[in-house]
Amino acid sequence: MIPDLGKYQGAVLSAYAISLLLITVTVALSLWRARVVKQQLNDAEARAKQAPDTH
């Protein structure tokens, strides 16, 4: 499956593994924070609607 990379196999595979890991972590963290903040905002907006108007 993996092409014959010869004597540079370690270098090429480690470059791909580290890069893909960093990209995956960045995407995952961005999605996770997006979800958390959206949920917190929805909760805060719901509380704001329920609160009596003091103005």
């Binding site: 270098a11 960045t26 999605l31």
Partner: protein, 244 residues
């Protein structure tokens, strides 16, 4: 139709909501195609062997590391001149993505450099300016975190971004200024159009570059939407505290 209407957070959220799924699909498709084509279906270089396959990660990430900072420069200038909050948040959202792109460029460059140059690192003009750019990204992110007042943080980080732009440009053109470095000149010169890369390597490289560009746009839009929501959340929480 004016571009400034997207400075309105509501308009920005509305537009990016339908744009993001399409851009995400395009980014996944192009990054996947570029990397799979480059890794599995390109031959070894007659001089560099299989290490040439690192080009599909190294060049696109280095390109985006510089372009991310230049995009931050533009949005920072817009903030300083026109005071549009979305532009400041775009710069803030782009910084961590640019940092990761710089890190990938530095790591893959080191891994590629070891078998080709005999060393992971040299104090070469391009490598050194890239390391400084990496430190500027760290400083920029830390400054946003350190200053509590959002507008003041946006002002200070915008000034830092202007200063760091010197190194972003230097990392692109360093090989033209100094000849003593190990790093080669660009293989795909945009200005002259003459390139030294064969089509068999260039086509997947081009797709990979487009993919990394799209991935950057998707991540920045997603993160900017989060920053806009976080700012609205802060305002609501402050109102709750004031009422209690």
């Amino acid at each position: 139709m004016s571009i400034w209407k997207y400075a309105n957070p509501t308009q920005f959220m509305r537009t990016t909501r339908w744009l993001l799924p399409w851009l995400s699909a395009l980014a996944i498709l192009s990054v996947g195609t570029g990397l799979i084509w480059g890794f599995f279906f390109t031959p070894d270089d007659f001089r560099q062997g299989s290490t040439v396959k690192i080009i599909y990660l190294h060049v696109p990430s280095a390109l985006m590391a510089i372009n991310a900072w230049l995009m931050m420069l533009v949005t920072s200038l817009i903030w300083l001149i026109r005071r549009h909050h979305v532009s400041a948040l775009l710069a803030r959202a782009a910084a961590p993505v640019g940092l990761v792109m710089t890190l990938i460029a530095l790591i893959t460059g080191g891994i590629w450099g070891q078998p080709m140059w005999g060393t992971y690192w040299a104090w070469d003009p391009r490598l050194t300016s890239f390391l400084i750019l990496f430190l500027f990204y760290l400083g920029y992110i830390a400054l946003w975190q350190a200053v509590e007042t959002q507008d003041t943080a946006a002002d200070l980080t915008s000034v830092l971004c202007l200063v760091g732009s010197v190194f972003a440009l230097l990392s692109r053109y360093a090989v033209n200024f100094w000849n003593q470095g190990l790093h080669q000149g660009t293989s795909v010169p945009v200005a002259t159009g003459g390139r030294t890369v064969s089509d068999v390597f260039f086509v997947p490289l081009l797709i990979s570059m487009a993919g990394f560009g799209l991935m950057f746009v998707v991540l920045v839009l997603l993160r900017t939407r989060t920053e806009i929501r976080a700012r609205r959340l802060q305002a609501l929480l402050a109102r709750e505290r004031a009422a209690s």
